[in-house]
Symmetry: C2
Subunit: 406 residues, 2 copies
């Protein structure tokens, strides 16, 4: 019996989703004497449905594999596609036909909450149809909002990017004598994990960022002005980090405060983040120089500033998924359990994907200071181990070598 | 006769302005048996005028010096201060008193066009007053817009940051199947050198960024729409790089197209860059997903992605300034001359600061394609050597160690 393995990537890009793909291929090559190949869905389950896939063992040389490990974003392409809730022959029937045609025994899906929903549905459908195929999820998201697992591949790199970049922005902000406020807007609409990482930028107590605002607790404009006034009294250059998802007590997003009036002179609506909005509020309230910086997509796709540990763990998550599949497990997601004791150590396990999909793990409110403007030290021992280690990149002409499908 | 050296930093931060400061200190320590010290102006000539300076040999250990070399922004703090055109005793008199009080024989100023104006005025004033002190400028600007010199320390690192970041953004942009446009706004209001560096991001012909718009040639909205239409016909994911300073045929900045209407619902004026503006124009014109990314201050202050060659050359520029000062030269700026021949090699020289100050070296129009939407290959052999080499950083807790004055 010859069985192949199929792997897909889904949801937003991260710095290490390809490291997990590498882990899957590497795990399959070491573990299996089954001679099957590794197929990759192109553009996730959506692309696969329309017949788009690639034979990865055929396509990738061993040199390519090393490059894959260091390449950010999603080599296989991604999708945002929700499988139907009810059995729909045109979708599920077609999918399982395609699985059979390629002789797939194991299907792995690398993604976040929504992607785990796909794993859940496919594994339940396989049981219903008595199909001999198992489905395993490999966690991935910079948001770090998957339940059960201690953390998620992608987060460590995003956290490292944010911490080091905010450290550099703080140095940049400090060069002039005149009072100035720099507002940095960070990713994570519902969960503040990425924003919290900005506190790791501090080199000493009272170092910037002096203020950090999270989406898990209400943001009050007047209180923010007071916080800022206090901070400016302490030092002339204040760096403020805010989550893109900060909201007021009524649950209204701060970035929505200006939606109505945001039109250009052709009447086009302009979209503005909360950083830009706070910039204008501060400029009008305080007589200081203000600027805002939106770190934007580089938070999730910077391979150059990736965390070495995150890359290693992402690889291991891919390998673990292969092992679970070979053991015949299905409907599971790979999890990380942090071992208690001296030194950081992680154990790889699994949980029923139903415990994860469509659920969110928010940043613990207990780790936010009572005045809602900073992160408590408890987060440091959680976050610091995740940003350790650098990646030594293969370069060409002074730039990192990255691999693409075409 | 005991003479000391004084050094200041001025203008916007770069990744390597502190490398030049390191070069000054290192150069002074190796070259001089004069036993004098190195004083640093705090916040440039403006801070120095109000009595703010520091003894650098006293303050910095040899370990600190190594950290200084890798720390971005401006260790000594900066200023934007123009010395008066006419002899003003309250300024020049005070300054030369202070020089005398500290027994300064050489004064070095690290900065761009405006800072060279300071060097020019001080050296002319010293001659007039028969003061025994020389003034040398050390070039610094990410804009690369100083005349005479082949290039300027700070540019190579900014170019490397832009090239590698745009490469990563292009990977991020390519993960979904649906047509999408990503607009990246880059620094350089008058000169497009930094924007041009985005073409180095390409890994193969027809790789993103497909379109690059420079401030040296007029930007026409309708032509841009046509360019974009063509690009989208070729591939679904198009990355466009634009200089913040693109302007139309009449000289009006594109970012000013929306000034009037940019108010939030409290009537506050919102400032918007041309990237954000083009984003809204494209969204309304094309039925595609659009986003804009402003690379912002990290272009100039990313120590982590600095060019190794840029750091070395910045150090050497500092050392060269010390040598020139010890030779009794004054009113000069250190220059780089690229040697013709196989392999990249630079010679350090000097030019009268009057040839540089208040002048701008624009990006050569001959290096922009005739259709005004790309950079010609001639730029590659100019730009590529400047982004070579990485910096091995001293780290702590997974982040680069950077040094501050306080």
């Amino acid at each position: 019996m010859k069985k192949n393995i199929l792997v897909g990537q889904s949801g937003g890009p991260t710095a290490v989703i390809n490291s997990s793909l590498y882990g899957v291929i590497d795990g399959w090559m070491t573990h299996s004497h089954m001679m099957g190949t590794v197929y990759g869905m192109v553009n996730g389950v959506e692309g696969f449905l329309s017949g788009n896939y690639v034979d990865l063992l055929d396509t990738l040389s061993s040199e390519d594999l090393q490059l894959l490990k260091q390449t950010p974003a999603a080599y296989l392409g991604s999708c945002r596609f929700k499988l139907p809730e009810h059995l729909d022959a045109s979708v599920y029937g077609l999918l399982f036909e395609k699985f059979k045609a390629l002789d797939i025994g194991i299907c792995l899906y690398i993604g976040g909450n929504d992607s785990m929903d796909t794993v859940d549905k496919l594994s339940r459908c396989a049981k219903l149809l008595h199909e001999d195929i198992v489905f395993i999820g490999v966690p991935k998201t910079i948001d770090n909002d998957l339940p059960v697992t201690d953390h998620t591949p992608g987060y460590g790199s995003a956290a490292k990017y944010v911490a080091s970049t905010v450290r550099e922005i703080s140095l940049d902000a400090a060069v002039y004598q005149k009072p100035a406020v720099t507002i940095v807007e960070l990713m994570g609409r519902h969960a503040g994990w990425v924003t919290a990482a900005s506190c790791l930028a501090r080199r000493f107590p009272e170092d910037n960022p002096l203020l950090i605002y999270m989406p898990e607790v209400p943001f009050e404009m007047e209180r923010f002005f007071k916080d800022l006034e206090e901070a400016l009294a302490k030092q002339p250059n204040v760096v403020v980090c805010v989550s893109e998802g900060i909201q007021d007590r009524s649950g209204r997003l701060i970035c929505e405060y200006s939606n109505e009036a945001q039109v250009d002179n052709f009447g086009h609506k302009m979209l503005t983040g909360c950083g830009k909005l706070l910039e204008s509020y501060v400029r009008n309230r305080f007589q200081v120089k203000v600027r805002s910086v939106e770190l934007n997509v580089n938070q999730r796709c910077s391979g150059l500033l990736a965390s070495g540990r995150d890359v290693e763990e992402a690889v291991e998550a891919g390998r673990t998924a292969v092992k679970l599949g070979l053991l015949g497990e299905t409907g599971k997601m790979v999890t990380f359990k942090r071992r208690i004791g001296a030194g950081y150590k992680v154990e790889y396990g699994a949980t029923d994907v139903g415990n994860v999909c469509n659920k969110e793990k928010k940043f613990p409110v207990e780790w936010i200071t009572e005045n809602h403007r900073d992160i408590r030290p408890e987060f440091l021992s959680y976050g610091l181990p995740l940003i350790q280690g650098e990646v030594k990149h293969v370069t060409e002409h002074g730039l990192p070598r990255y691999i693409s499908r075409e």
